[in-house]
Amino acid sequence: MKPSLFKRFAVAFAVLAAGSILSAAAGEAAGEAAPGVVQHASAVGMDYIPTIFVFMLSTFVGLDVIRRVSRLLHTPLMSLTNAISAIAVVGSILIAGQQHAEYKFNILGMVAIVASISNIVSGFLITDRMLKMFKKRGGSKP
């Protein structure tokens, strides 16, 4: 990727993040004014803004780290990030583990755990299996 393209993405992303903060803030203000909308105390206000910062910074770190990944390893990279995207297991465990009024929520959570754990297990195993095959001349292992 050329640096110019990267820069364009960075700018677009910053604008997008700023825009989402602004629009969310505007919506939040309107929501406060509107009667009849149920809102939790912590949900009012701007406590989501740190999460947007986290998202923006981690995307920059991600773009920069991934840009350096060897092209040789793009297939293992994809199965590795595939396993990493199964971090959704965190949300799944929280849904499945909490006490809910109805069992169906726990079941939804459990199905989600099954789906994400199978991703984690197969993703890491196959990535390692592929990486084992990349050898230098003379059969020495990396």
Binding site: M1, V37, V65, P76, A88, I113, S118, F124, T127, L131
Partner: protein, 463 residues
């Protein structure tokens, strides 16, 4: 908030970043996987110690983890030619998990205190469900096409773009309405249905050669749905890990698009492969063909041989035969290199993995940009199952659909040997002028059989 949970999430995030950082070199890449596994373990343990989880539910979580592992372990045993399908299937699972969690969160927000949706959380939840279910059906379709359960030919109809964009617009409007006022909860099932439908419709017009880009985009979506889940749950680990995955998918899709000289929109809505009729007039030209014995003789007299592998090599499972050929040639002191086009195969880096599986040292796998300047000095180029990535029309013929796509300059080499089943045009349906050039000899037959014959000839003469 339990401090230990946050510390676990912090460690996990750092480990994920290291994991990806170590992927920059094959030497440290396995350490990267270890870091990823450690990160995931820390994340799961950090979640399990959350006091919100009821003790009696641990056994159900354990059961789900066991079932998930029981599905995951066999999924990692697939042959390496099937890795694209497996990856697509995994993306589908990831999307499904995000979508289901989103559904649970949405309905819980009405029944449980402390879960009420602010506008921001409602918008994030819509994004999570939309991306999750879209990735689910889209990836299932992609996996079906790659496994050839579903016809791989792009399916197009009149007004396809309008239907797709219209559906997408409707979904966005539903999301906006729902995030303005969550009490319109009857809209929610429509968003799910639209996302599921949109995933299918998005993949229908996409053909095999565009799969590397599409898989990368779906990879990105799976990560972004995890990010959205993080916004809904106010969980920073979900956001960081999801963002790493999202940016990885983004970069891979940019690389793939650039390697085909096409834009995102063109890949998603362009329906490549509709142009068969346009290029039929070139069929009268003559080709020179050679037997495997002739081809072997030509290679024997070369100093440098460059092998250009393509999807055909994967289909024929010819990578181990190619390795034998590599051995025979290097034994005679001939320099052998492999020229890898970024979109060769059905997912990014597909050829590298197949050749690595066949024990070919990765130092001999050369990227397109590095091999092209050397091409005029190369004695023999052997094209194994590649087609469009060596088509000089991309450089010379302005009317060609692939004009402008970077290619491996096989035509600049002194001699070209191309292994091909028949003279049928490749996936994109474009005639390849390379096959009619004076310096080109066609060797007709199955890639595995032909390379096997080459090896037999070379080794037979040796004894």
């Amino acid at each position: 908030m339990n401090i230990w949970i946050q510390i676990a999430y912090l460690i996990s995030t750092a480990l994920f970043i290291f994991s990806l950082k170590w992927m920059n070199d094959p030497k440290t890449a396995r350490r990267g996987v270890a870091a990823g596994v450690a990160a995931m373990l820390v994340a799961v343990i950090g979640t399990l110690i959350n006091p919100a989880i009821v003790a009696s539910n641990y056994k159900w979580i354990a059961l789900a983890i066991i079932i998930g592992s029981a599905i995951g372990v066999p999924l990692s045993w697939v042959p390496l030619t099937a890795v694209p399908q497996r990856t697509a299937l995994s993306h589908a699972f990831g999307g499904l998990a995000a979508g289901l969690v989103g559904v649970a969160e949405f309905y819980l927000s009405f029944s449980e205190s402390g879960q009420e949706l602010s506008h921001f959380r409602a918008a994030a939840l819509c994004a999570e469900v939309l991306l999750g279910f879209l990735t689910f059906t889209g990836s299932l379709m992609a996996a079906g096409k790659l496994q050839e359960i579903i016809p791989t030919r792009p399916i197009t109809y009149k007004g396809q773009k309008i239907v797709n964009l219209g559906l997408f617009a409707v979904a966005i409007i539903c999301c906006i309405v729902l995030s303005t006022d969550v009490n319109y909860k009857f809209i929610f099932p429509f968003i799910i249905a639209l996302a599921l439908l949109f995933g299918v419709l998005l993949i229908i017009p996409i053909g095999g050669a565009d799969m590397p880009t599409v898989i990368s985009i779906l990879n990105s979506y799976a990560g972004l749905s995890a990010v959205a889940m993080g916004f809904v749950m106010d969980n920073k680990l979900l956001i960081t890990a999801g963002a790493l995955d999202g940016s990885s998918g983004l970069i891979l899709s940019i690389i793939m698009c650039k390697a085909m000289n096409r834009s995102f929109g063109n890949v998603l809505f362009g329906a490549f492969g509709k142009v068969q009729a346009a290029a039929a007039d070139a069929a009268k030209k003559t080709v020179k063909s050679a037997t495997p014995a002739d081809a072997a003789q030509i290679m024997e007299q070369a100093n440098t041989v460059v092998i250009v592998p393509g999807y055909g090599m994967a289909v024929a499972q010819a990578q181990h035969r190619v390795r034998e050929l590599y051995d025979q040639l290097t034994k005679r002191g001939i320099t052998v290199k492999f020229a890898i086009h970024p979109v060769a195969g059905r997912m990014p880096g597909h050829m590298n993995v197949l050749l690595a599986e066949a024990d070919i040292p990765y130092t001999d796998l050369v990227e397109m940009d590095d091999i092209n300047p050397e091409m005029p000095q190369v004695d023999v180029v052997l094209v194994v199952g590649a087609n469009d990535v060596v088509n000089p029309a991309a450089r010379t013929n302005k009317s060609s659909p692939i004009y402008g796509m970077p290619i491996i300059n096989a035509d600049k080499a002194k001699t070209v040997l191309a292994i091909k089943r028949s003279m049928n045009p490749g996936f994109a349906g474009i005639e390849n002028e390379l096959y009619y050039a004076d310096k080109t000899l066609m060797v007709f037959g199955d890639a595995k059989a032909v390379v096997g014959d080459l090896v037999k000839y070379l080794s037979g003469e040796n004894s």
